[in-house]
């Protein structure tokens, strides 16, 4: 028997970071990938770091404007903690300099809020495959 999907292929583990419950639920609900598994959600950078240590995600969606520890600082620490982690910034901050700074710190993609389901899935797909 043969299959196109290797038996040892495991799902991509996703950690969602945003201070809005509504946005976290929206990302979780709208992602349409069978091979993506949400392993945690965090409301600020400290929670994100703690969850990243515990759940070992492959992919993180990261808000920038958050209380306690913002997204830029969190990206910097996450990249040190887990080099190779793929990070998709999902932020309302729409200036070019912010996107450049996030990428320089280690983000791999940038999606502006508000976003459609299609835009979200395209952005995730770019980092997954």
């Amino acid at each position: 028997m043969s299959s196109d999907t290797p038996l040892d292929r495991r799902p991509v583990k996703l950690l969602i970071v945003d201070d809005s419950n509504i946005v976290r639920r929206r990302i979780e609900r709208s992602q349409q990938f069978d091979d993506l598994q949400v392993v945690g959600t965090a409301a600020n950078g400290f929670e994100a770091l703690e969850l990243a240590r515990r759940t070992d995600p492959d992919l993180v969606t990261m808000d920038l404007t958050m209380p306690q520890m913002d997204g830029i600082e969190c990206i910097t620490r996450l990249v040190k903690l887990k080099p190779g982690l793929r990070i998709l910034v999902i932020s309302a901050l729409a200036d070019k300099a912010t996107a450049v700074e996030a990428m320089e710190r280690g983000a791999n993609g940038f999606l502006n809020k508000p976003f459609s389901d299609r835009q979200l899935n395209e952005a995730i797909a770019e980092l997954m495959y």
Binding site: D19, I22, R26, T65, A94, P114
Partner: protein, 148 residues
């Protein structure tokens, strides 16, 4: 001091928010200069602005509008906390989008949210405040932009 032509970015941001998040565009009324205070709706999300410009941006909306907006977003939680979360997120999104025109030095805070209470709106010396009326479905809300 905030100039009328600078309001365009907030009008566009508001239009974009409803169009994308609720898949139904809002109608934006003519902005007008605010003299004194404006009446608040049930929930208000406020962003403090610092850096190159100073002041506040706030979105105030009735519970009925927020409930329908949540439904359009496929949400099933219509609790007080969800309403607070949503007004904050709307204010944050529109203010953050304004950096496309105002630039990186337009520094925005995390949202402060007020419900059923009169918010204390900080007044920045030299700031000028405009009200942007928002009409969506049968509901009305306001975005207030008060900046130096």
């Amino acid at each position: 001091m905030l100039r009328e032509e600078e309001l365009k970015t907030f009008v566009e941001g508001t239009t974009r928010y409803f169009e994308v998040a609720a898949q139904q565009p809002a109608t934006i009324g003519s902005p007008y200069l605010l003299e004194g205070e404006t009446a608040m709706h049930d929930y208000t999300g406020m962003i403090n602005v610092s850096g190159k410009r100073e002041g506040v941006v706030y979105f105030t909306a009735p519970r009925a509008m927020l409930t329908v907006l949540l439904m359009k977003m496929q949400e099933s939680d219509f609790s007080h906390e969800s309403m607070r979360d949503l007004v904050g997120e709307v204010a944050n999104t529109i203010s953050g989008n304004a950096r496309r025109d105002f630039g990186h030095d337009f520094v925005i805070s995390v949202p402060s949210v007020f419900a059923g209470e009169k918010p204390q709106i900080p007044q920045s010396p030299g700031a000028r405040a405009f009200v942007i009326p928002i009409h969506w479905r049968s509901h009305s809300a306001k975005l207030v932009v008060s900046l130096t």
